[in-house]
Symmetry: C2
DNA sequence: ACCTGAACACCGTTCAAGT
DNA sequence: ACCTGAACACCGTTCAAGT
């Protein structure tokens, strides 16, 4: 029988931690609870992640990487901007559908003042990654607009979707998310 | 020399608590820190607010009441829907301008899973109050639309503005808020 | 009526010690 | 290399005790 390798345990901690943060936020993350979930002692968690900030930053970095990979794949197999935006809004919807969870970086933005600097950096990168992708998608529709205008529009879309998720979550009502997205489409904010 | 009355101390606690929650969230609220700020012991804070949930609910209730009063005044002296929306977006902007703070209920929505039931109730009421007001403002512009459509549009506006605040805060960049609001206007989401 | 000190089980973090 | 127990200063909450 194989013992769990170091990498396995790191992964187990990150998986458990990610679920907790998306449900209850960075502040609710507890090394003792985490340790119980993966079957080691809290002091051992510190072996893999010296501080809570290290763990938070690792979570956010991974989250951004995975998101970027998925979005790149979408764009590569794109059937057009509307199709892309359907898939994109579905990502944020699925977090809500999955036990009323939130975007990892959205929930962390709310807790900003309690985040160590290294976690804030990763939160910024996630936003920038999303805006970059949305800018590309928008450029498929409005080839005339300036890069500046596209980026501004992309940021507005990202903010509006994060907000729809936040408010729907607060009201424990995924219908609010769906109706907000529909309204964004009707007004033309989202292609 | 007058001693501080009971009401004064309750108010002092609520004022300090509100500032903390808007900056760092419900989870970061500490009875011990709060006690230090107002000059009593943490056990004494429990005299005024038996549990943290009682304090959180009181904060949110007060926040909604004050917001409702301000918005009612706006509507009463209204110079039209665009003017109303300018004032409305300015409220959320001023939280950011004031030390990168957030809407009390927006930040609490992110921490939903850690909120006692009585606090969640108040968060719901805040959202409903805002949507109610926005629906009235929208009815000034689109007299033809159904009550249902107006409410859907109002909820989308509320969500989009909360999202703009959340993302701008996360990036510590109030310009992101301003540009998002501008884009919402350009697309016609906001009158 | 309002405040306090002391206790309880929690928290992140550190560190010497184990294998 | 990986894990642990014990200690530290924190946390919300309770309660008997003070005025």
């Amino acid at each position: 029988m194989m013992a769990r390798t170091k990498t396995d345990m790191r992964e187990a901690v990150m998986t458990a931690a990610r679920a907790t943060v998306q449900s209850r936020g960075y502040n609710a993350l507890s090394f003792r609870e985490l340790a119980k979930e993966v079957g080691i002692k809290s002091a051992s968690v510190h072996y893999h992640f010296p501080t809570k900030g290290d763990l938070g930053a690792a979570l956010a970095r991974r989250y951004t990487e995975e998101g970027a990979a998925y979005l790149a794949e979408l764009l590569a197999t794109s059937e057009g901007p509307t199709w892309c935006m359907d898939r994109y809004t579905e990502i944020f919807r699925s977090a809500l559908a999955n036990d009323n969870r939130m975007c990892l970086c959205g929930i962390m933005s709310a807790e900003l003042d309690d985040l160590p600097a290294e976690v804030r950096t990763e939160v910024d990168k996630f936003a920038a990654m999303n805006v970059g992708w949305l800018t590309k998608v928008l450029s498929l529709t409005k080839s005339s607009a300036s890069e500046q205008d596209l980026k501004e529009h992309a940021m507005a879309i990202f903010a509006a979707i994060e907000g729809a998720q936040l408010v729907a979550r607060g009201c424990r009502n995924i219908g609010i998310y769906d109706r907000a997205i529909r309204a964004y489409r009707t007004t033309g904010l989202i292609p």
